[in-house]
Amino acid sequence: MAAASVPRDVTSYSIGLAAPLTLFFLVFFVAPLVQLFVLSLHNDAAGAVWGIGQYVHFLTDPFSLGVLGSTLLLGAEVTALCLVLGFPIAWLYHRVGSRAQTLIILIVLLPLLTSVVVRTFAWIVILGRQGIINSTLLSIGAIDTPIRLLYTQAGVVLALAQVQMPLMTLPLITALGRIDMNLEDASCSLGAGSWRTFWKIVLPLSLPGVIAGCTLTYAAAITAFITQSLIGGGQMLFMPMYLYQQASTLQNWPFASAISIIFLLAVLAVVTVFGTLGRLSRGYGGA
């Protein structure tokens, strides 16, 4: 552009290159979001009366707040389970031969190559009354009657954890790969046991990966409409289903918009907390 004649500062770039993406986001992301917000500022379902009635309705209704709470809690449970199960895999990845590494990556990535719907139906088969878990327990005589696994919170957490696992494992593998293995050896040679080494060296240094993984898993788990509704069933209500019900079945778009905005803000708040932890952890990791 015009600035071409001036000697360029190599550390600053023309923002012109970002313009197409900016425009794309403005048109396809910001504009609909604004429209959604404007729609939520109507008191009636037809969208004729202005007001903040929908927000008042949601925020003063214990039931709606309960749905929001249980959704956020679900995300926390799934994230915790993914972290506990995903960390050892990521750790193992850096301690095995290249052949085994390929195998681990394949196992981690495999779920991503299958549709969420297929994976969710597989969980219905596994958790069902005559599913793998129940029939195994029955055959070894551990239980007399099939236990209820499908349509329970535990079932939803389990299925979601499997579905979202790659989002946790991949950032962890990257983060653990950045840690110099010599640090562990040094820690051990200075007399620290393996657990002490883990808590003092490996975990703090891997925190950026943990934070990234948790953010991704959390956001994906609470918005996972298909898995939530198919494993959770029609009587367990989470925010995505609540939203769908209001928008599609009841055509109450202003309330549905208000729900989305509130949900969006709640998720942003959680992500901000993760982000803050991430910044703190960087200081920690560098110390």
Partner: protein, 347 residues
């Protein structure tokens, strides 16, 4: 002179014209028929569409399968230039669509088949080419005596074996209305229905998120008995799943599936022709046979096969066995019911 910028602009314009053909050829798009997903789509693709094309010089038509409520949302988003020409609706959404003024009245006087439809199917806002029938479905391997009444769902021997759907679906809502009626309620008074649901809780194995999910639960052995859709069950049965359908003695719930011309459709004439094809005895006769087993509404179509066996031998018996519900009344309170179901039905 061609420079990079004009080249890019031209390419983008051409690309946009390709991506949004409506920009350049507003009138020339094919007829878009929004059908339901699953068995409906299969049936319409295999029978209705070929019949329509044969009668209309291979006119181009596109099936766009989606739920009724999504059809309404899509048309509402672009009322002036709707992306759909023909809509298919369950009774609840049909009233919403009519109320929102997005359907065109059906040109009754132009139609050849309209007068042959049974009275319940004659709707000037959009006739009903099909019925959906809801009765009791059960697994004959585990339940030896076929159930006969909705009340059987409450029997103690079905503890932990009953499946229902929530009120998001027409099936779930319609069934709850029948339960309310059984206990002295009505479309206007649902309280007895909710009370009965409370008593059903020990028997409930599952509250499915939608009727499709309910059907698969029979396959998993998760449930043995449930209110169910005649067509959905026939499809399962055809795939070897042990499942049977009975019309309860209170009457099977019949939902009119109505078909509508969308207001401001650029293809009104073709839309009318498609609807005519759907009402024709030929199409309805074919759709009545296996594997579709769609209940016909044209009184000239003689009942046969599985429909004659488990539902009705002729139109007169059909009318006697079917219960039609007042969806106008139901719609008035449906959102309150859904909210109540959300709150009260926790297992």
């Amino acid at each position: 002179m061609i420079n990079r910028r004009t080249l890019l602009t031209t390419a983008l314009t051409l690309g946009a014209m390709k991506a949004f053909p409506g920009l350049s050829y507003a009138q020339a798009r094919p007829l878009v028929f929004a059908t339901f997903t699953g068995s409906w789509e299969e049936a319409h693709k295999a029978v209705l569409v070929p019949a329509f094309r044969k009668a209309n010089a291979d006119a181009s038509i596109v099936l766009d399968p989606m739920l009724s409520v999504d059809q309404i949302a899509k048309v509402n988003a672009a009322r002036g230039n709707p992306p759909i020409d023909v809509m298919l609706h369950d009774p609840g959404p049909a009233l919403v669509a009519i109320g929102q003024d997005i359907v065109e009245p059906f040109p009754v006087e132009k139609s050849t088949h309209y007068k042959d439809l049974i009275a319940e199917a004659q709707e000037p806002t959009g006739p009903a080419p099909f019925f959906q029938v809801v009765g009791l479905t059960y697994n004959p391997d585990t339940i030896k005596t076929p159930p006969t009444s909705w009340a059987d769902l409450w029997k103690p021997e079905f503890k932990g074996k009953v499946g229902i759907t929530n009120l998001n679906s027409t099936l779930g809502t319609g069934w709850l209305v029948e339960v309310a009626k059984m206990h002295g309620g009505s479309e206007a008074n649902i309280d007895p229905g909710f009370k009965a649901l409370e008593a059903l809780k020990p028997n409930l194995a599952a509250v499915a998120a939608n009727p499709g999910a309910l059907a698969t639960l029979f396959q998993q052995g998760q449930i043995d008995i449930s209110p169910g859709n005649f067509n959905a069950i026939q499809i399962l049965k055809a795939r070897g799943v042990p499942v049977e359908f009975v019309a309860p003695k209170e009457g099977a719930i019949a939902f009119k599936t109505t078909i509508h011309v969308v207001k401001n459709s650029p293809n009104k004439e073709l839309a009318f022709k498609l609807i005519e094809a759907s009402l024709s005895p030929e199409v309805q006769t074919t759709l009545m046979k296996s594997p579709y087993l769609i209940v016909p509404t044209n009184s000239k179509v003689p009942m046969g096969g599985e429909i004659a066996r488990v539902l009705a031998k002729d139109t007169a018996e059909l009318k006697k066995k079917f219960v039609f519900q007042d969806w106008k009344k139901i719609n008035e309170q449906r959102s309150a019911w859904i909210e109540r179901f959300n709150r009260e039905i926790k297992l």
